[in-house]
């Protein structure tokens, strides 16, 4: 465990006193301390392009009264610095008065004791493995023009000190292994990317030559795209494959169900609680407790234990995702969804692992039912405008469907839809739910945090495909 008060003139007692003193007349707040270490090794263009190591240390002091949040952060853990932060907070909240709520929920059992992906596997073996990856992919033939492979590992220790001296701690490992392949055939170039990761040691992901499957998949996606034709343009039926395509759920629905947008009434869902927002058979949950997934944490960044939150049950809107601030102002409870990128950032209600649960149809049935449409297997990034509800995402692997059969692959199409109405267009929910491979990062208000998604195949009756073929 990290001792944040080692090697500084600030004792734990001092810190507790400053926190209690500052937060006395506030509704909420805490001192958040963070010590993170991360390592990144990148192989590119036949050589190790970079090996870097980062160590980050800092605190964020937060005070909240009513709707007003005062925040101050610094990398200097010292008496002077913390006092300056405290003064800064007091001056913002000088005319406000609140009542501090001392109660915090009982916590989960710690998820990730003793996993440190950086120290556990030696740098040498990581360097060797990247070279093997490069050789393995390039041995697939002369069409392989470029290979990039990388390891990224992180270990983050956090501590939360609340007014009254309550202390909560957590340790969070996170790793990612990624391969990108560029192929060239007859003057045409295409890229394929695949990655895996989660909150475990590297060995768990790389045993049994698992890394070869990652390489094979990146190569396969690039090969498919080499033979692709331009995507169609216009409204049509879309079948989404299982797993990672659930970022559609994340973008289209998830963000709109975050507490802050609904308290501020800027989400298209803010007045729809208890109402039918999706087709029958659609159930969506956000789960922070899944085994070793990117979005799984013992506690959120305010100390609330994570949980499985039902957002939509059989088409009916049941819950928003809440942090403490928005829960208090909306008279409900925190769902353990208060997250921040680091001590440099304020807490916001965020997603963890967002999943659409199984229905009863097979993927084959869905495809058979489509006369003209597309089958989207994988996506790059997505984005949503919370207020208008419009969202997009980019296909990285997709095929046309003609008369119930999968046809040629199509390249680079963007799908665009309307969040509140898209779930009503879901006509069939598959029985093949899959988790994503562990690669998702969600961006909101300039903060990137690791998340997961999952879904079975689904059939959407009407969506706009943004290709170039009219």
């Amino acid at each position: 465990m990290t001792d944040f008060f080692n090697k500084t003139d600030l004792s734990r007692k001092d810190a507790e006193n400053i926190v209690s003193n500052t937060l006395n007349n506030c509704d909420d707040g805490e001192l958040y301390l963070e010590n993170s270490k991360s390592e990144s090794i990148i192989l590119d263009d036949d050589r190790i392009k970079s090996s870097s190591y980062r160590s980050d240390l800092g605190y964020g002091l937060r005070a909240i009264t009513g709707e007003v949040v005062a925040y101050s952060h610094s990398n200097e853990i010292s008496k002077n610095s913390l006092k300056q932060s405290a003064d800064n907070l007091k001056s913002t909240l000088k005319s406000k008065k609140g009542t501090y709520n001392n109660s915090i929920s009982k916590t989960n059992e710690k998820f990730y004791n003793n996993i440190n992906p950086i120290e556990k596997k030696s740098l040498n073996s990581k360097l060797e493995l990247l070279k093997e990856v490069n050789n393995y992919v390039r041995s697939k033939g002369a069409i392989v023009q470029q290979v990039t492979a990388s390891f990224a590992g992180e270990h983050k220790a956090i501590e939360i000190i609340r007014s009254g001296g309550e202390v909560l701690t957590d340790a969070r490992p996170l790793i990612r292994f990624n391969v990108s392949v560029m192929l060239e055939k007859n003057g045409k170039k295409e890229t394929g990317v695949y990655g895996i990761g989660g909150r475990q040691s590297y060995d768990e992901y790389l045993k049994n030559d698992n890394w070869k499957k990652v390489c094979d998949e990146a190569f396969r996606i690039a090969s498919v795209n080499l033979d692709s034709k331009p995507a169609p343009a216009g409204e049509m039926k879309v079948v989404l494959g299982p797993g990672w395509p659930a970022i559609l759920i994340h973008e289209a629905i998830g963000h709109g169900l975050e507490g802050d947008f609904n308290r501020k009434k800027t989400s298209a869902f803010h007045n729809l609680m208890g109402q039918k927002v999706a087709s029958e058979g659609v159930t969506i949950v956000d789960d922070g407790t899944l085994h070793q997934r990117r979005g799984s944490l013992t506690i959120d960044d305010e100390g609330t234990p994570t949980e499985k939150t039902i957002l939509i049950e059989n088409g009916i809107l049941k819950n928003f995702m809440q942090d403490r601030l928005n829960a208090r102002l909306m008279n409900t409870r925190s769902t353990g969804s208060g997250r921040r990128e680091s001590y440099k950032h304020v807490v916001l209600p965020r997603m963890r692992n967002t999943m659409m649960l199984n229905g009863k149809y097979s993927q084959e049935e869905m495809i058979r039912s489509v006369d003209k449409g597309i089958f989207a297997v994988s996506f790059g990034g997505g984005q949503v405008d919370i207020t208008s509800g419009k969202f997009v995402f980019n296909c990285t692997e997709a095929y046309e469907i003609i008369n119930g059969k999968i046809g040629s692959s199509i390249k680079g199409a963007t799908l665009i839809g309307d969040g509140p109405s898209i779930l009503k267009e879901v006509s069939l929910v598959g029985n093949n739910m899959m988790l994503d491979p562990g690669i998702g990062t969600c961006g909101k208000a300039g903060q990137g945090i690791p998340v997961g998604v999952a879904q079975p195949s689904i059939l959407i009756d009407k969506m706009t495909v943004g290709g170039t073929q009219l």
Partner: protein, 437 residues
């Protein structure tokens, strides 16, 4: 107060000296400090204050042609020592790369003229609050149901050092304010924004300008229609048109060229835009948002005419990729500085009238740019313009094409302004495909 030059120099020199003592044959270090204070308002009330104090160091060590780097926000001497030791150990086992090296000594930059990038003025949070009150007062028009605005002040200082004796840095400042408004009509909600961002406090736009523009733009977007899929002329508002330059910059970075992953590889001295198009990257604009005295490696950056009468003249070259490509660094490690299209010859009004029907785009969403193939496909919102008149808002459509074609079919208006680090006039593009109904 941001840390002074002496403190930063001392820390940077400590790193360089220790690295040498531990066996580095060369090294470079950067030490940065910034303090930023932000106040946010919502619906005419104080919502959030944020003070951010960021100190950081990065160090790259070389042993011959081996290289590794560390970075940290913990500048205690013990920690720095541990990290440098770790960095040296890592460097020793990292394989050699023949192209690794510090920049050539005679390319290193020194300050020759004062670019006036630092304004010592400080605006207190109470004064920020006064500004934001005016912003929101002018934003609350009929139909607006929510406003969020913010005012941010940042002061930064940094030092870049290397073992060839380079030890240079400078202070900079940034002041910015923005307003996001939400409007509602029936069940439709729309959001839009306006902002100002400058080096010097007194160059900022007036608060009522920010608020009323944000509100006006938002209300205009209400009750949009989806249009049919078709091939149609498109105009990019200045918010969006600068993105075409960012795409150009990504595609001509020496790193993409050296890796062979750019659609503009081997296109030097070839025509990639139409005759009328000129693109400049100018690092020495006084108070410029992208101005700098040298690049992230310390190399002096001169003004470059990247595109001359449609012909690509330069890549953006750093030391490492320059050596790979057998080219000299042109001080673009870290990218472009103040990048802009030379303004066109047609007025904004005439550009709108050039076609009977034009789709005017004000916002794009999604990450649909592929720099390997040049394919481009993004979600868009905007307005249908008929005979120069804005008719109705449009949303839930996508626009798609390929940069190779897009670049050749650009007509620029004469309304270039310097609001960002990368700037372009309003832009007409022929031949893109819209996907809608």
């Amino acid at each position: 107060m941001v840390k002074d030059k002496d403190y930063l120099k001392k820390t940077a020199s400590f790193c360089i000296d220790l690295a040498k003592k531990l066996g580095a044959t060369s090294s470079s270090a950067a030490v940065m400090h910034s303090i930023s204070e932000t106040v946010n308002f919502r619906n005419k009330k104080l919502d959030e204050s944020d003070r951010s104090d960021n100190l950081g160091v990065t160090l790259t060590t070389y042993i011959g042609k081996k290289k590794s780097s560390i970075s940290s926000s913990n500048l205690s001497e013990d920690n720095i020592k541990d990290l440098i030791e770790r960095c040296i150990e890592t460097t020793k086992i990292t394989p050699e790369d023949e192209f690794n090296s510090l920049p050539d000594k005679d390319l290193l930059g020194i300050e020759t003229k004062n670019l006036n990038l630092y304004d010592d003025d400080h605006i207190s949070n109470d004064e920020k609050i006064e500004y934001l009150k005016e912003v929101e007062e002018s934003a609350f028009k009929k139909g607006i149901i929510n406003t969020e605005s913010g005012f941010s002040e940042t002061k930064s200082n940094f030092i870049l050092a290397n073992s060839d004796g380079f030890l240079n840095g400078y202070k900079s400042s940034s002041f910015s304010a923005s307003c996001v408004a939400v409007a509602k009509s029936n069940e439709n909600m729309e959001r839009d924004y306006e902002f100002t961002n400058t080096c010097h406090l007194h160059d900022m736009a007036k608060p009522d300008q920010i608020g009323s523009l944000a509100a006006k733009k938002t209300i205009q977007k209400l009750n949009p229609q989806k249009i049919e899929s078709e091939k149609i002329s498109i105009i990019f508002d200045r918010r969006i048109s600068k993105g075409i330059l960012s795409s150009l910059a990504a595609a001509i970075s020496a790193s993409s060229i050296a890796r062979g992953t750019s659609f503009l590889k081997d296109k030097i001295n070839e025509k990639i835009f139409s005759n009328t198009i000129n693109v400049y990257d100018k690092p020495d604009i006084i108070r410029g948002l992208g101005s700098s005295y040298f690049d992230t490696e310390g190399v002096k950056a001169e003004e470059l005419k990247l595109v001359d009468q449609g012909i690509l003249k330069h890549y953006l070259v750093d030391t490492y990729n320059g050596k790979k490509l057998n080219m000299q660094s042109n001080g673009r490690s870290g990218g472009t500085s103040n990048l802009f299209f030379e303004k066109g010859s047609i007025s904004y009004k005439d550009l709108l009238k050039l076609n009977h029907r034009t789709l005017y785009i004000t916002e794009t969403i999604g990450h649909g740019s592929n720099f390997v193939t040049g394919d481009y496909s993004v979600g868009a919102t905007g307005f249908m313009v008929e005979n120069g008149v804005f008719k109705y808002p449009v949303s839930e459509i996508t626009i798609a094409g390929n940069f190779k074609d897009i670049f050749k079919n650009i007509t620029l208006a004469d309304d270039l302004e310097f609001k960002y680090a990368t700037n372009a006039p309003t832009m007409l593009i022929e031949g893109m495909v819209v996907a809608g109904k």
